[in-house]
């Protein structure tokens, strides 16, 4: 039993955090909102130079051959800066899906992903819309019981604006004549694992988002004075913040456990991920609720950066399986006749 990350994993997290905090500033995010595609090619180039898109790509295809467990800490850091580029879902959803598909498709695309030359979008019906379909060179799209591999030339995209200007969402349409890439049981398994990885990606980012909202608000409530004191010295404000810290602290281990379960192909992965996503997204939503309150009217403005993180937290809570989906999954598990619960049942 060793429920800790290795020193290497933690060092990697540190260096990625340093990079992201320096490069992905709220100013840059706001600048990207002014652009049609909402993306920053220079930033993507830096991400590629750090080797981040290839982390989960097998070494034979030019990647680092790391697992979901290695990436989960990095996904937290991507959440911390509300990274608009589609790194997390490429590394955590698209790459593993291509690995599972194998064959020519994997051999063709994984080296390009590792080299930063191609992005892949995965669209599941749970999500209705497809994130970052507009910058993808390959689209893996679920339709009913099938999965299709599509090039940009084969699809028509219809942009749907999100309240989070960083999120680029598209309805993807294509001709019925395209043959499916996978069907039946194979497709069902791929869809389930992709959904789990997407949910894990949301959960990990939610941890980072919650931490960021706490950090910003601690600064704000230390600077902002009323009644001759920093408002952060008032217990009513402190307790709002402490409540977030409690929920956030206890959401971390479930997320790490879910990453471990996925990386090791454990049978419990689905319910572990659902548990993790519920508690991590709830922590982030509580962070949004309590930090906007601590910011007062400033928190309700477009000018203050808080909304960059708040809106992402709201969005992630209901994508890659909404709250009802994930709660039903866990609830079905605990209410089943053969459920093994109680002390000693966790591992």
């Amino acid at each position: 039993m060793n429920f800790t990350f290795s020193e290497d994993q933690l060092l990697f997290q540190d260096s990625v955090r340093d990079f992201l905090v320096n490069e992905v500033t709220p100013e840059k995010i706001r600048a990207s909102w002014e652009k049609d595609d909402g993306r920053d090619p220079l930033l993507w180039q830096q991400i590629v130079e750090m080797g981040l898109p290839g982390i989960t790509v097998p070494e034979e295809f030019g990647g680092l051959g790391m697992s979901e467990l290695d990436f989960v800490l990095l996904a937290q850091e991507c959440g911390y800066v509300a990274l608009p580029e589609p790194l997390v879902h490429n590394a955590l959803v698209a790459v593993p899906m291509l690995k599972e598909l194998g064959g020519e498709l994997a051999a063709q695309w994984l080296p390009k992903i590792a080299a930063g030359e191609a992005k892949v979008a995965v669209g599941l019906e749970q999500n209705i819309l497809v994130e970052d379909a507009h910058t993808a060179e390959l689209l893996l799209i679920q339709k009913g019981d099938d999965i299709f591999a599509l090039t940009p030339q084969q699809v028509t995209l219809r942009h749907n604006e999100s309240i989070d200007p960083s999120r680029k969402l598209y309805a993807v349409e294509f001709e019925d004549s395209v043959p499916p890439l996978a069907s039946g049981a194979q497709a069902a398994a791929l869809i389930n694992t992709a959904l789990n990885r997407g949910a894990l990606a949301c959960a990990a980012q939610a941890l980072g988002l919650a931490q960021r909202m706490i950090d910003m608000t601690v600064l704000y409530t230390t600077d902002r004075h009323q009644f001759g004191k920093p408002i952060g010295s008032f217990q009513a404000v402190k307790h709002h913040m402490a409540n977030i810290a409690v929920r956030l602290e206890y959401a971390k281990a479930p997320v790490h456990r879910a990453a471990y379960a996925i990386a090791n192909g454990q049978a419990s992965a689905s319910r572990n991920v659902s548990h993790a996503k519920i508690v991590a997204c709830e922590a982030a939503k509580l962070a949004a609720k309590n930090t906007i309150q601590a910011h007062g009217a400033m928190g309700y403005t477009w000018e203050v950066d808080l909304h960059i993180f708040m809106k992402k937290a709201w969005a992630l809570a209901n994508t890659w399986g909404d709250e009802g989906f994930h709660k039903t999954r866990v609830s079905d598990y605990i209410l089943a006749e053969d459920a093994i619960l109680g002390a000693g049942s966790t591992f």
Binding site: M1, P254, V279, F347
Partner: protein
């Protein structure tokens, strides 16, 4: 990261499981807040000690097994899984014992620990005073040096188990000129010393689970001091330290409550589902108990590898105490009109011991530093908010 147990850890689990299967009383003991129940629980401590299962985290030389925190969690999982009796001497075993090992003299350790292990001497805590609750540094009870003795005067209160316990431990002001945290000394006091009056305080269930202790010129040897004179605050902080808190509130207890809650819900769905909030609350109980377990294992592993615990430990107490309240509140909702009935009431079928747990859960957010104090600590020390 490796989330599987080693063969040694599995063997350890098997060993404790077998021993418990052979030794746990088939009939539940009476409450240890009754005289007879206290006697029964003291006897159980002796039985545990004979099997060398009483103090598993203590060093082998002191009758323990030198277990690390993971083995401790395994032990607790098996212990709660079979519903073994509560630990009447928990304030001694988990709070004072480890503090003695750190600060005690060899003589103190040799005199006190073996009798604590057998349950011959049960310990009550003596922290709070009428005007020193959340503000513990406001302690006024004094201990004045008189030759080889301290002469203690004053009053302690909310002393858990003090009604039938043999000893108490707590802080007393040895420097009358001192303020706040300074000038306090940690002293061990036999409760049968002349000048001591113990006045039981009935708790919500009507039983005297705690007491006031009055000290009227009570003489105890200076040799009963733990740590240096005037260093009581730092000794007490060690006693209240996180690892001990972890040992007192291991996840197994809450996971078992969550499991019983799921069962209660399944048995009563026809009525329980009339309130759609109940199903969600049951789900939440399971998830939070699971989160608590996962986080505790993660922390334990970090500590074993030499990591330090920081102010985030204050989140621990809030999490488990509010979880415990929420789980029992849900059980009360499921039981509906039966919830208020005492278990022995003639028509109280299927109420189990939920009412008892509900009452006890009310104390969680209050004792060991109220949750409001914990929230201040989190905000100031963990998050760095201004004082």
């Amino acid at each position: 990261m490796d989330l599987s147990f080693t063969p040694e850890q599995n063997a350890f689990r098997e060993e404790i499981r077998q021993w418990l299967a052979e030794h746990v009383p088939t009939q539940p003991l009476q409450s240890f807040d009754t005289e007879e129940g206290f006697r029964q629980h003291r006897a159980w401590e002796a039985t545990l000690n004979e099997g060398r299962w009483g103090m598993v985290t203590w060093p082998e030389a002191l009758g323990g097994r030198g277990c690390d925190l993971i083995e401790w969690l395994i032990f607790e999982e098996e212990y709660y899984r079979v519903g073994a009796p509560l630990r009447v001497n928990q304030n001694g075993i988990f709070l004072l014992g480890p503090t003695l090992m750190e600060y005690g003299t060899e003589e103190q350790k040799a005199r006190i620990l073996p009798r604590m292990a057998t349950g011959e001497e049960v310990w009550a805590q003596g922290w709070s005073e009428p005007n020193a609750g959340s503000d513990m540094a406001a302690i006024r009870s004094t201990a004045e040096i008189d030759g080889d003795n301290y002469v203690i005067n004053g009053q302690k209160t909310w002393s858990t188990r003090a009604v039938w316990a043999d000893w108490t431990f707590g802080m007393f002001r040895t420097d009358p000129e001192s303020q706040r945290h300074r000038g306090l000394t940690f002293i061990l006091v036999p409760l049968d010393t002349p000048g001591i009056t113990v006045r039981p305080i009935p708790q919500l269930d009507g039983l005297p689970g705690f007491a006031e202790i009055f000290f009227d010129n009570v003489k105890v040897p200076v040799a009963n001091r733990l740590g240096d004179e005037g260093a009581g605050w730092s000794v007490a902080m060690a006693t209240a330290g996180f690892e001990r808190g972890l040992m007192l509130r291991s996840p197994a207890r809450f996971q078992e409550t969550a499991r019983r809650l799921v069962e209660l819900y399944k048995e009563n769905r026809a009525t329980a589902d009339k309130d759609p909030a109940v199903k969600e609350a049951v789900l939440r109980a399971y998830m939070d108990a699971e989160s608590y377990c996962l986080s505790t294992y993660q922390t334990a592993c970090r500590l074993i590898q030499g990591g330090k615990i920081g102010a985030e430990s204050s989140t621990n107490k809030i999490f488990w105490s509010e979880l415990d309240q929420a789980m029992h509140a849900t059980a009360m909702s499921i039981l509906g009109a039966r919830a208020e009935l005492l278990p022995h009431a003639p028509d109280a079928s299927g109420v189990g011991n939920w009412l008892d747990g509900w009452l006890f859960a009310q104390s969680g957010p209050i004792y060991a530093g109220t949750n409001e104090v914990q929230r201040n600590i989190i905000a100031e020390r963990m998050l760095g908010m201004p004082r």
